[in-house]
């Protein structure tokens, strides 16, 4: 079991990013192809969670997943443990909170893919879903990476929501952002500085890696004819 807050954060961010790919790509994909008149309302709803302060959002999430809410009791019945103050609870909350940071760049990426490529795939018999998976997604790598990076980093630094839904339990919900906060509150500035530095160095390393690889993708596919 992971007890180090940094590792826990990384695990959380990785799980959340992965889930956001799973949820965000179909959602953004649907938004990019639907001809629904009111799709902009859905786009707006997806972006809404950002405008609430995280702790407040956390409070509302907590209310709606606590065991006496319908969602919470359903979860309790199925999995035998409560959602709040657990790692799965953190995941649910972070996914909700970071959703717009994934969906928005995904959508921007999908919308900039030439419509004719999709049309070509359709006439080659590929279903809309297959076209989306094999043509649109691979042509939107920069957007997907942006979304992935934003949501990964955002989850790493997430604090308010995680604090409220997680309850700061060492080894299960005490992620690194909370532990740094605690250190600052306890006026342990030196320790806080060290933890922050570790987090920054790690993040810098990961982000650099992602961006450097992304760059390479474009070198393999030169843009000049």
């Amino acid at each position: 079991m992971i007890t180090d807050p940094l590792l826990l954060s990384i695990k959380l961010a990785a799980v959340v990013s992965a889930l956001l790919f799973l949820i965000g790509i179909p959602l953004a994909g649907w938004l990019s192809i639907t001809r629904l008149r009111w799709k902009f309302l859905i786009e707006a709803i997806v972006a809404l969670p950002i405008v609430l302060p995280p702790t407040v959002l956390g409070y509302y999430i907590l209310v709606s997943i606590s065991p006496n809410s319908s969602i919470g009791s359903m979860y309790l019945d199925v999995f035998g443990s409560a959602l709040p103050f657990s790692f799965p609870g953190l995941v649910v909350a972070s996914v909700l909170y970071s959703l717009p940071f994934a969906v928005q760049p995904f959508l921007a990426g999908f919308e900039s893919v030439d419509k004719r490529l999709s049309e070509a795939a359709w006439t080659l018999g590929a279903s809309r879903v297959k076209t989306f998976l094999t043509i649109v997604i691979p042509s939107s790598i920069p957007g997907l990476i942006t979304g992935g990076v934003l949501s990964f980093a955002h989850t790493l630094g997430e604090f308010g929501v995680v604090l409220l839904v997680g309850g700061n339990i060492p080894g299960s919900t005490q992620v690194v952002s909370i532990s740094i906060y605690d250190q600052v509150q306890a006026l342990e500035y030196e320790q806080a500085g060290q933890t922050s530095l570790t987090l920054l160095v790690f993040s810098f390393f990961v982000l650099s890696l992602v961006y450097a690889t992304n760059r390479k993708v474009w070198t393999i596919w030169p843009k000049n004819s």
């Binding site: 049309e119 795939a121 080659l124 590929a126 279903s127 596919w221 030169p222 004819s225």
Partner: protein, 359 residues
């Protein structure tokens, strides 16, 4: 009775309308959509592929209703199973040449798939490019890949939007020949958009001439070329003597071609006996008053002048020699030989001036 493709659609654009009404037999034949830039050719093709929804009318492919305004039906592009060649290629930039060609070939076994791709690579001379990525290809290379990709699927109706227009001359001539042969085995109807006369003549059985969003003429290709129904059409297709004929025999590098019971000798560039389209430019026909010998002009036809029309600095003669043929000569020649209606003349044509388009 062969099934038919019924097209009767109208598509509105701001300030412009494209409409077409025609019926094509679903036999392995070639229909050419011909017309100048902006005529609406691509629009018609996109409606047939299901990429554009017409604003009115219907499209029936045999018994299948592909589109009907009244019945509110519009079949998806996937279900139509047409092959579509895009004017600007629309190749997948993230896939290799090979993967582009084999895209979505899922219904067949892997072996069969590889074989088909290999055949396409071979036909379109792409062997050195197989694993290249699309962005590094030159314009012509891209076009060949796009053609290969479209044909690889054995579609049941092939829609080609100017497939050869960006190719260089040698490749174009080679592919034009091969395209027909190649498609013969697939036994599918083809609709070809082009604004190239030679391409239309080489490939088309039937021709639909469009301009400003409407159909000007629609008929067998020789008829449209030889008898344009109006001046605009004539201007668009250009004037030509075009006759359906057939190669009777071949000897010593000459092809003996029969047109309406007349035999002509044509230089033979490797065509087989069988039906051909015969084209003779009006300006290539030499008129003289008597038969002559000792000339390299091998074909001599006797006929009577039916019409004399002044055309700018030239004179167009229509001569009946069992079939009507046009000749273009200078005014001076006309004066010198005193040519006029009902005068009997000899037309001579060099074997090399008789153009045979395989059919």
């Amino acid at each position: 009775m062969a099934e038919k493709l019924l097209i009767d659609i109208q598509k509105d654009f701001p300030g412009r309308q494209v409409s077409i009404q025609t019926e094509l037999e679903l036999t392995p034949s070639w229909t050419v959509l011909f017309g100048p830039s902006g005529a609406g050719k691509s629009t018609v093709l996109r409606c047939l592929a299901g990429l554009e929804t017409p604003d009115d009318g219907e499209i029936c492919f045999g018994n299948e209703i592909w589109y009907s305004k009244n019945q509110k039906t519009c079949v998806t592009p996937q279900q139509r199973g047409t092959g579509f060649f895009f004017q600007d290629y629309a190749l997948f930039p993230h896939l290799s040449v090979k993967k582009n060609i084999g895209y979505n070939l899922t219904e067949i076994s892997k072996d069969e798939k590889n074989k088909r791709i290999a055949r396409m690579v071979d036909i379109f001379d792409l062997s050195k490019l197989e694993n290249r990525n699309i962005q590094s290809l030159s314009g012509g290379e891209k076009q060949r890949v796009a053609l290969a990709r479209t044909l690889c699927r054995h579609p049941r109706l092939l829609l080609l939007d100017e497939p050869l227009s960006a190719l260089d001359n040698p490749s174009r001539i080679r592919l034009r020949k091969e395209l027909r042969d190649l498609l013969r085995q697939f036994k599918i109807p083809v609709i070809l958009v082009t604004h190239d006369r030679t391409e239309a003549l080489s490939l088309g059985d039937r021709m639909i001439v469009m301009n400003h969003g409407t159909v000007l003429q629609d008929g067998p290709i020789a008829e449209v070329f030889s008898k344009p129904n109006q001046k605009t059409t004539a201007g668009i297709v250009g004037m030509e003597n075009v006759f359906p004929g057939s190669i009777r025999e071949k000897k010593d590098g000459l092809a003996i071609v029969e047109i309406n019971d007349n035999l002509l000798e044509a230089a033979n560039f490797g065509l087989d006996t069988g039906p051909v389209m015969v084209g003779i430019r009006a300006e290539d026909i030499v008129i003289r008053l008597a038969r002559e010998t000792n000339s390299s002009a091998r074909n001599q036809l006797r006929g009577t002048i039916e019409a004399v029309v002044l055309e700018e600095s030239l004179v167009r003669l229509t001569v009946n020699c069992g079939f009507s043929i046009d000749a273009l000569i200078t005014r001076e020649s006309k004066e010198e030989m005193k040519l006029d209606v009902s005068r009997e003349v000899t037309l001579s044509v060099k074997a090399t001036a008789i153009h045979l388009f395989p059919h």
